[in-house]
Symmetry: none
Subunit: 401 residues, 2 copies
């Protein structure tokens, strides 16, 4: 179902939707026959909510497809993650909370080391300390090229975000990183005629950077790759007539939320509880809330099964504070699975709970992968969750007479 189809049916309402995303929520048992992280966790509050909810499993992108955080979030936000892609460069810029505009072309930057012949010796410049990279970045900020504005933001060690801003720029550019040593960095070229100007700007930046860094012993060059603009997606205001807010501690999630038109709220502190406090404080001012929990994914990616269990339990203890706000619709889900046994994102469907006063309740007193399999949402594309949430919030008019 196309968003354009739903958009035509959207009606305003005085209802509130809260979407709690536990990053990488779905898991796997440590041993066959065992329980997943979510099934292992003691979640009395989620279980209580589950009884009155419709449960199911969401497939973020497609069967067998392991989503990155970008596509995983686009999907649970209701957008087709295959149609709309957030390129590497744009993701890096979002990740450092850079407010990327529609005309900006972003890339991932690396410091690197060349020999006297200009041949790549080290693609990561010995992973120079972040503080040292920041000093170099200060120097690069002096680079000026007429007709374009450059932004450079440190990320970690040798990595930085690079952004070019000028009207009409396009991102169809090749990488300068050859992905191996023993050869010189590549010139950047335009892969379509629309990005000739962008290619020239990027090459001129690199040339000046090379001059500035020439005397540096560990990082005498930079490389740029993954040039990308933001996909042009319609906002929640435009599509759904919602006034949406986002609560997330990490830049990338704030960035994807901003892309959907959400106002990113300031969180005082850095705990999950602080995020719920932000939710409470802002409850009256918005009608859609996205609250992102990172810890579940971090533990999953670290292979820390019981850390992930604990993170889930930490969220469960905060659920009564959400319920006390009396949202019309509550979604609890993830952007993808991150089973601790895999130490990575995975394609496995994601447990999903949809609560509302007018949902058809499954009466299943448990929130877990196998419990969700018995639920009435079925196994659905993640992008179908938002239309269901909107319907449960009384925000979709009848189609046809």
């Amino acid at each position: 179902m196309e968003l354009e189809f739903i958009k035509k049916l959207i009606i305003p309402a005085q209802t509130k939707i809260a979407m709690v995303i536990l990053d990488g929520l779905g898991g796997l048992p440590l041993k066959p026959g065992g329980k997943t992280e979510l099934e292992t966790a003691s979640t009395p509050n989620l279980d209580k909510l589950a009884v009155q909810s419709a449960l199911g499993l969401t497939v973020p992108v497609g069967p067998g497809i392991t989503p990155g955080s970008g596509p995983g979030h686009l999907a649970i936000f209701g957008y087709d993650p295959i149609r709309y892609e957030i390129g590497r460069g744009a993701l890096e810029a979002l990740g450092v909370d850079f407010e990327l505009g529609a005309d900006d072309v972003a890339a991932r930057g690396n410091f690197c080391l060349l020999d006297s012949e200009g041949i790549l010796l080290d693609r990561r410049a010995g992973r120079i300390p972040t503080v040292q990279a920041s000093t170099l970045i200060e120097q690069l900020r002096g680079i000026k090229v007429e007709g374009v504005e450059f932004f450079i933001e440190p990320i970690k060690e040798h990595r930085f975000a690079f952004i070019m801003r000028a009207p009409g720029l396009e991102d169809t550019l090749s990488d300068s990183d050859p992905q191996r040593t023993g050869v010189p960095p590549l010139e950047i070229y335009a892969t379509t005629s629309n990005s000739l100007r962008a290619a020239e700007f990027a090459n001129r930046f690199i040339q000046q950077a090379r001059n500035i860094l020439a005397e540096n012993a560990s990082a005498n060059m930079i490389m740029l790759r993954g040039f990308a603009q933001l996909p042009a997606i319609a906002s929640y205001q435009e599509l759904f007539k919602l006034t949406p807010a986002a609560i997330a501690l990490n830049g990338m999630y704030r960035g994807v939320a901003r892309l959907a038109g959400m106002e990113v709220l300031k969180v005082e502190g850095s705990s999950i509880s602080d995020e719920f406090t932000t939710l409470e404080k802002n409850w009256n001012d918005f009608d859609f809330f996205y609250l992102h929990v990172k810890k579940t994914d971090t533990c999953g990616e670290n292979g820390d099964f019981f850390g992930k269990v604990k993170a889930i339990e930490e969220v469960d203890e905060l659920i009564p504070r959400l319920v006390a706000l009396d949202p019309d619709v509550i979604i609890v889900s993830g952007d993808h699975s991150s089973p601790a046994v895999l130490k990575s994102h995975s394609w496995h469907p994601v447990p999903t709970l949809l609560y509302s006063k007018i949902v058809r309740p499954d009466g299943i007193p448990e929130f877990g992968e196998r419990a969700c399999l018995r639920g009435s949402l079925g196994i659905i594309p993640a992008k179908d969750v938002m239309p269901l949430a909107l319907a449960n919030a009384g925000r979709i008019a009848k189609y046809g007479a």
Copy 2:
């Protein structure tokens, strides 16, 4: 799956399919933890049939989309309800059993009241009694415009169906109803160049109507809105090589059935039992039967939970008469849900039963929302039911060698 794909695989057979549609069948419990209307109803005959059937839930249009009766029926008949739309005007005409042709453009008509300056005082002409409206309609039937034929059929009170018939007419026309009082009715204009002639015909009709009604104290004008032609859908004969018949008491359902090429059978009487009698009488002459039960939806929309329970039980008692005819395939489903607690149509998936001698039986001895959730049909688009029914009727050939 496209109908064109199925069409190529269709083979004739000596089998019969019976589709019983309980309008608005799906429901919700009165209280969380309770039973739905269908789960509450005592349905020994449906339960017995369920044991030998495949159960599932159908999604008429898409997740979160509440279908009107038009899209709900198109879907369960096998057509894509987003691709084929039945506009308001066409629905009104079908609703009064008008045999709308491909070139006909229909609209919903209202009597209304203007002041001496031509400003709208009452958009509904005080809801004049139907009998009085019928007298005025008799007068309007005298209106002649060269090159077009007009039809006007009373509906109820101030409402009537208006139809223009001429070769090549198109329905891209604006409304004359401004949707508010204090302004004059609008002229109808063509929204594409293909409907210039239709706009002229409609405006000339309205002008003559105004002259005829000028002296009437309560209804001195008419307004037209929702101009629509029937969507051009292929018939059951053409698509499925079926000889289909429809049994329905309300015009709209007869109309949609006619659109699919079904022969609409005359029902002696107006009870559900009378509909089953019609089925029995015509059993030998057709190989597909659509039998529509309205009462379930009426009770749902009226918020009458137990009335809906009773209507379901009334159908259940008649099921043995259907089974006695020994159909090869029986479908029991709805066109959408109409939970009494919502007093309206809704998006919730619809319980569906598919019986045949060669279905893989689920062995579930109950027909209800949660029983269907455990069934082997899964949660499927409503338009997938007909291909399954046809396969169970031995009417779809093997695809590929």
